[in-house]
């Protein structure tokens, strides 16, 4: 073949490539179920029974700092600061920008404690400490953990980190290669570090640790690599392992004992973490924990979800695949399970159960109940009893047709047979998509409005199962996925959800999936970022846009609100697009392959036209 022929062929290839790079047509609205069709509750709304709030133990009075990503144990992400309000927010300006020196997806929340801001970057997980008490917030110290570069090769969805946390003079964070490190917040010197993950088995750590009751709670990532999931508690002072609970396997490994009282029958029985799998499949079955662990002071319980079962090809693992895609309640001291609930038994669509738990006191059935608010990847907002794990209501908040509601008698998700995945057959227009109606990026709750501000996606997908071999340390997926926009074509939505009335109060459509968290303030402003790089403020009562600022790269992180040493209110956020949804920009990815990045590229082919890789801290304030 001559070079001339090669050139001609290259020209001939162009139309096909262009064709593949158009955003697919949205799924028609007729393809999905309505809230009225599939939403269920054990009793009708009783708003007269009281006001929705977070308990004082879960959400103590705001001291103006932001010491953990979720703001408080109740995970409200509510700031009581009011200097910035709807009438002056249009004057917000950036007062500090700081280059993170890493152009990968930045998912972390900045942490503010002791007049210092702490930020951890995506791999290589550099930690910066900035002195908020001085002009220009100079660097106090930086810490380079030097994670193993090879860890990048087993991180499923960009090399992200969801942030560190501050406790007792230490900044505690995780690294991609499976370490947990506690730094002296004043000096940046490590007090301890432990390695918990083995990259040769495909294990990484990307989640933000939680500190409660003198322990650091962390979990592993690797649900796409045939990893066996776990959550472990480390002594906060020494890093020594206090307990470790696996997500699959015999009861002894899962820390299921005599105190285990799951609400529903399907979760009762001995060694279900073995029996609900084909022989030995539980050993490589997933149930990782890379999202949010929550401590509930009201019930003295640690709550955490579990990730997807492996492989994605569900035909290779008949059974309910306990304890994947569910939620555990555990004793914080011993790790012993109290209850468990499975959102998506025998998950066929990669609906990890690792999203945030918001702890609310809410009127339900005529009285105030202590509940968990869980906007789940499978498309439903679950309201669950915090003591028992009983589901009180489950209503769709995103496009849903893979299931037909939750049976509140059995607790079981009602599968739609038409959207079950099959070997060698492309099942089309499954909603929500693999990354869910909502992924890891956390919601916020305002006690003033009683609403939860859910940043989420409006995406569906086509899915083909493929037989996959387990090879340790390599992907164990077995599915070819092509994502596409949901009804309406707007790929993202900010939803203000009323948990009592079980419906949205307002929705703001976004062109791209919203992959950032939200923060809401006592001036009734919700802040969030978009993947094309707008940082936005909207009215918490109406959704009306109030202000926006274009940052250097798309936003997929967690904004915060804090009071600076000068007494003024500041809003901080990281820009730097990436993550699973933004890998098409941050990773070496070719948009001509819609199946790239586990199928997300298909729905995001136009993102590179809007933003470029970056990594910058922005701090906003009113001129003063």
């Amino acid at each position: 073949m001559t070079r001339k022929t090669l050139t001609l062929l290259a020209l001939a290839a162009a139309p096909a490539a262009l064709l593949a790079q158009t955003v697919p047509a949205p799924v028609p609205a007729s393809e999905i179920f309505t809230r009225e069709q599939i939403g269920h509750a054990l009793s009708p709304p009783t708003p007269q029974a009281g006001r929705t709030n977070a308990s004082a133990a879960g959400a103590p009075a705001d001291d103006g700092q932001w010491t953990m990503p979720s703001k408080n144990y109740a995970s409200t992400r509510f700031s009581s600061l009011t200097e910035i309000n709807p009438s002056n927010v249009s004057h917000l300006v950036p007062v500090v920008t700081f280059s993170l020196g890493v152009n990968k997806g930045q998912e972390a929340a900045p942490i503010v404690a002791d007049n210092t801001m702490f930020v951890v970057t995506a791999y290589p997980n550099i930690v910066y400490a900035l002195d908020l008490s001085k002009p220009g917030v100079p660097l106090k110290w930086r810490y380079m953990p030097k994670p193993l570069p090879a860890a990048q090769g087993v991180a499923c969805c960009d090399v992200v980190n969801r942030g560190g946390t501050y406790s007792k003079g230490h900044y505690i964070f995780t690294t991609l290669d499976g370490q947990v490190i506690s730094l002296d917040a004043k000096t940046g010197k490590p007090a301890w570090k432990v390695r918990l993950g083995n990259i040769n088995l495909g294990e990484t750590i990307t989640m933000a640790p939680l500190v409660a009751k003198g322990k650091v709670y962390v979990g592993n990532s690797g649900g796409e690599m045939g990893v066996r999931g776990w959550v472990t508690a480390l002594d906060e002072a020494t890093g020594k392992i206090a307990w470790k609970a696996y997500g699959t396997g015999p009861d002894a490994d899962v820390l299921i004992g005599t105190n285990f009282h799951p609400f529903y029958k399907s979760d009762q029985g001995k060694d279900l973490g073995v029996k609900t799998w084909p022989a030995d499949a539980w050993k490589i079955g997933g149930a990782t924990m890379w999202g949010w662990i929550t401590y509930d002071p009201d019930t003295n319980t640690v709550l955490h979800g579990t990730g997807n079962p492996g492989p994605w090809n569900a035909e290779q693992r008949p059974g309910d695949n306990k304890w994947t895609t569910g939620m555990f309640a555990r004793d914080p001291d011993t790790g012993q399970a109290k209850w468990y609930y499975q959102f998506s038994p025998h998950d066929e669509h990669d609906y990890d159960g690792i999203n945030e738990q918001i702890l609310l006191d809410m009127p339900f059935g005529g009285k105030m109940r202590k509940v968990i608010f869980r906007p789940e990847r499978n498309g439903y907002v679950y309201i669950m009893d915090r003591y028992t794990g009983q589901v009180l209501s489950a209503d769709p908040f995103g496009p849903t047709n893979s299931s037909k509601g939750v049976d509140l008698q059995t607790g079981r998700l009602i599968i739609n047979p038409a959207k079950e995945t099959k070997l060698g057959q492309q099942v089309r227009d499954i909603c929500p998509t693999a990354s869910g109606a909502k992924d890891w990026n956390p919601s916020s709750f305002s006690p003033r409005t009683g609403l939860v501000y859910i940043p989420h996606e409006n995406l569906c997908m086509d899915w083909t199962n493929m037989q996959v071999n387990y090879i340790a340390g390599t992907p164990y997926v077995g599915a070819e996925v092509h994502m596409k926009p949901g009804p309406g074509g707007n790929r993202g939505v900010l939803t203000a959800w009323d948990p009592v009335m079980r419906k949205p109060v307002w929705e703001v459509p976004e062109n791209f999936p919203i992959w950032s968290g939200t923060v809401v303030t006592a001036s009734d402003i919700v802040f969030y970022g978009t993947m094309d790089g707008w940082f936005k403020a909207v009215n918490a009562r109406t959704g009306q846009p109030l202000w926006q600022f274009k940052v250097s790269s798309g936003i997929i992180s967690q904004p915060i609100s804090y009071r600076g040493p000068d007494g003024h209110q500041y809003i901080a956020v990281l820009s730097g697009v990436g993550g699973w949804s933004g890998a098409i920009v941050s990773g070496p990815i070719d948009p001509r392959d819609g199946s790239a990045a586990l199928g997300f590229v298909n729905a995001m082919v136009d993102l590179p036209k809007y933003t470029t890789p970056g990594g910058t801290l922005y701090v906003f304030a009113l001129p003063h």
Binding site: R3, L9, A150, V468, D590, D593, S595, L598
Partner: protein
């Protein structure tokens, strides 16, 4: 084809192709094949030379213009979960393979070597885990992904499903794209002595 054979034969004997008009006397010593398998050079940078150097592994020859190799490679690429990271060439956990950028070289022997040795930023080392013949076949499929003929055969959002055999001429550029508007001698590196 036949005009190129003597070079490859020379290389097999441990000699190295030097292109263009290298000054005699103070020329740096080109790579001798020490250390790495087959003496394959992964970098286009060779200090002091006025051209790039490629080394040729004669074992690669039989995978050119070989439809069976590329078809076998496609099956193996899926069976060994290469697709899990690199998708159908578009990338994900691993880099994309269907464009014309090659970090560690895009000649068949360079791709083969990358698979055998692994690479520091996350490419596992497969030497000893996958039979060598199969690694060559996978390398052939990977090389095929960015061929114009393979790209032209894409009909939907899933590329690389009808991979074209890798023509011998595809590696004339040594797998490297010369910078635009430069008088490249990548080709002459290969062809130098025979021109």
């Amino acid at each position: 084809m036949s005009s190129r054979f003597p070079i490859e034969a020379a290389l097999a004997l441990g000699l190295v192709a030097l292109a263009g008009c290298q000054k005699k006397g103070d020329a740096p010593t080109p790579p001798s094949g020490q250390g790495s398998q087959g003496g394959v050079v992964a970098s286009a940078l060779y200090p002091g030379l006025d051209h790039s150097v490629v080394t040729i592994d004669p074992r690669a020859s039989k995978y050119y213009d070989n439809a069976d190799a590329v078809a076998a490679g496609m099956k193996l690429y899926k069976a060994y979960n290469c697709s899990g990271c690199h998708s159908n060439g578009g990338g994900g956990m691993g880099v994309d393979l269907m464009d014309d950028q090659w970090i560690y070289g895009g000649r068949l022997e360079q791709i083969h070597q990358t698979i055998v040795e692994g690479r520091p930023n996350g490419m596992p080392a497969w030497g000893g885990k996958i039979p060598d013949e199969q690694i060559w076949q996978i390398a052939t499929y990977v090389r095929s992904m960015s061929l114009p003929a393979t790209l032209a055969a894409q009909t939907g959002p899933t590329p690389s499903q009808n991979p074209a055999p890798v023509p011998r001429s595809a590696d004339e550029h040594a797998g490297w794209s010369p910078p635009p508007n430069t008088a490249s001698d990548y080709g002459s590196t290969m062809q130098g002595p025979t021109k």
